[in-house]
């Protein structure tokens, strides 16, 4: 009974203070890079003239004014809504389809060339077609975003379903798991990291897709703002719209990060970092 006194190797617990220092360090480095970028921007603006490159200061004040009078928020709202609705409408079937087709390898194989074609085809070229079909309103942008997101997420979810470890399935079956238990407890959680890789890649595409579709034809949204400003030779206005787009990307990226951290707590830290950097 003395053997109850095991001395298991303590699990790897990185020191929290060290991690905090690392984070502070990278934050301060990021500020330096930001300042550097602004300096280059300012230099370009001085060199080429404010007519071609609006100065950072002008852009910031215009952006602030746009926030106060609500015009930036008005356009940002449409772009954000198009991106988010399209993202959800595209991602949900893209995640569900590989699971549904898991037991039907022949159907998957038949679909494969079409999916590869859909994945490879330049979706932006579809924008004029969608505008013909769905009009210049929010619907055509949602359709374009959804189809872009669908193909990216479909292939990563498919990879996740295929990366299944059969030894885990056998273990579960021996322990009494039925088909549904295996899907729920093994296949689905195992595919989640792959799905997130796809979502992470698809997210900026969804915003980019919405903006480009607006540039082609719209009467509101940040892409419309870019187009309108450019038509009026207002480079400052273009930069204001681009900053708003970038901020939306940041917000959505933060949302994906948050969801990923919540759902993938079980992953080793180094693994998650590697995944994020891919």
């Amino acid at each position: 009974m003395a053997s109850l006194e095991h001395s298991p190797a303590s699990p790897p617990a990185a020191s929290d203070s060290g991690r905090l220092l690392d984070r502070l360090r990278s934050r301060s480095d990021q500020v330096i890079v930001l300042v550097l970028l602004f300096a280059i921007w300012q230099a370009l603006s001085l060199w080429l003239g404010e007519y071609w490159v609006g100065s950072p200061w002008l852009v910031v004040t215009r952006f602030y004014a746009g926030l106060v009078d609500g015009s930036v928020l008005y356009h940002a709202y449409y772009t954000f809504a198009e991106a988010v609705i399209g993202f959800v409408l595209g991602a949900i079937p893209a995640v569900l389809l590989p699971f549904a087709l898991r037991r039907l390898p022949i159907v998957t194989a038949v679909l494969d060339p079409f999916m590869v074609g859909g994945y490879g085809a330049p979706k932006l070229a579809l924008a004029p077609l969608f505008i013909l079909w769905f009009g210049i309103g929010i619907e055509s942008k949602i359709a374009l975003v959804a189809i872009t997101v669908f193909f990216i997420v479909y292939f990563s979810a498919l990879a996740g379903v295929r990366a299944l470890d059969t030894r885990l399935v056998q273990m579960a079956q021996v322990a009494g798991a039925n088909e549904r238990d295996v899907a729920r407890h093994i296949i689905f959680p195992g595919a989640v990291p792959y799905v997130f890789t796809g979502l992470r890649i698809a997210m900026p595409y969804s915003i980019g897709g919405a903006v480009v579709a607006e540039i082609i034809s719209a009467n509101r949204g940040l892409g419309y703002l870019v187009q309108l400003s450019a038509m009026n030779f207002d480079t400052t206005g273009v930069f204001v719209a681009l900053i708003a787009v970038t901020l939306i990307v940041f917000i959505c990226n933060g949302a994906v990060d948050f969801a990923e951290r919540r759902l993938l707590r079980w992953r080793p830290a180094s693994d998650a970092k590697l995944q994020a950097s891919v």
Partner: protein, 265 residues
């Protein structure tokens, strides 16, 4: 040996199609027969590549046989058709595999409770049993750790008690302590013997370590090189409870070791 065997393997054969030609297929196991009594601790020893894992996979019914049968409590299990396999034969045959196969997205406790969860047997009583097993193998305090946060020995313990927790009458073990250092292995062997003395399950334990086979088993089977057959059978007469660390100095150990080693090629 008067009692009816709990588990019986009869003329079991397994063939893998060879890559070079279709006709000359490779027999890994050919006409292998043995039986296990209720409550017996059987150890099986054989050279690597002698089909030990394949044998356990067929008994656990995650792999189909090419011939022969496995009888559990005198009922014959259909194991020649991959489609009609019943893995774990309705939760009565537990299997501790070589790798721990813990689910990385479940904590230690959730992993240990996994069989009870899918069997729909999760209640206060079974939860208490799981907690007791966790305490017994020194995993208390690590219930909410994920597998990657555990050491190799701890993962092994978790996978061992994951099978013990639902109390299958037969437990198959495939070199469960193979990848561990000598010290951790000795501790885990002691743990296993102690848990076995408490519950007296029927255990079929495969290993390539002769010392381990003698230290743990009531009886040891020696398998030949592929195609595997029973090359020898040895009753381990060393009385229980055994002292794992001191077992080599027992007078019966040396002669047994010599005789088994002569048969393991």
């Amino acid at each position: 040996m008067s009692a009816q065997p709990l588990l019986e393997v009869r003329d079991l054969s397994k063939r893998f199609a060879s890559r070079e030609s279709r006709d000359a297929s490779l027999w890994v196991i050919k006409d292998l027969s043995f039986s296990v009594r209720d409550g017996e601790f059987l150890t099986i020893i054989g050279p690597s590549g002698s089909g030990k894992t394949t044998l356990l996979n067929m008994i656990a019914q995650i792999d189909a046989a090419s011939g022969g049968e496995v009888r559990f409590k005198s009922e014959s299990a259909p194991i020649n058709d991959p489609k009609s396999l019943n893995p774990g034969l309705s939760c009565r045959i537990g299997y501790v595999t070589q790798e721990d196969n813990l689910l990385p997205w479940r904590t230690t406790l959730q992993n240990v409770l996994f069989p009870l969860t899918v069997q729909g047997r999760l209640n206060d009583e079974t939860r208490a049993r799981a907690a007791e097993l966790i305490r017994h193998v020194g995993l208390a305090g690590f219930e909410n750790h994920y597998p990657h946060e555990l050491s190799g020995g701890m993962r092994k313990r978790a996978s061992l008690i994951r099978t013990l927790v639902y109390d299958p009458p037969v437990i198959l073990m495939d070199e469960p302590f193979g990848a561990l250092d000598a010290q951790t292995r000795a501790v885990l062997q002691e743990d296993l013997l102690r848990l076995w003395e408490m519950g007296r399950k029927t255990i079929v334990f495969v290993t390539h370590d002769i010392g381990e086979a003698i230290a743990l088993g009531d009886r040891t089977l020696v398998l030949s090189r592929a195609p595997a057959k029973v090359a020898g059978e040895h009753q381990i007469t060393i009385p229980r409870p055994r002292d794992i660390r001191g077992i080599m100095s027992h007078p019966d150990f040396g002669p047994l070791y010599q005789r088994i080693r002569a048969q393991v090629q």
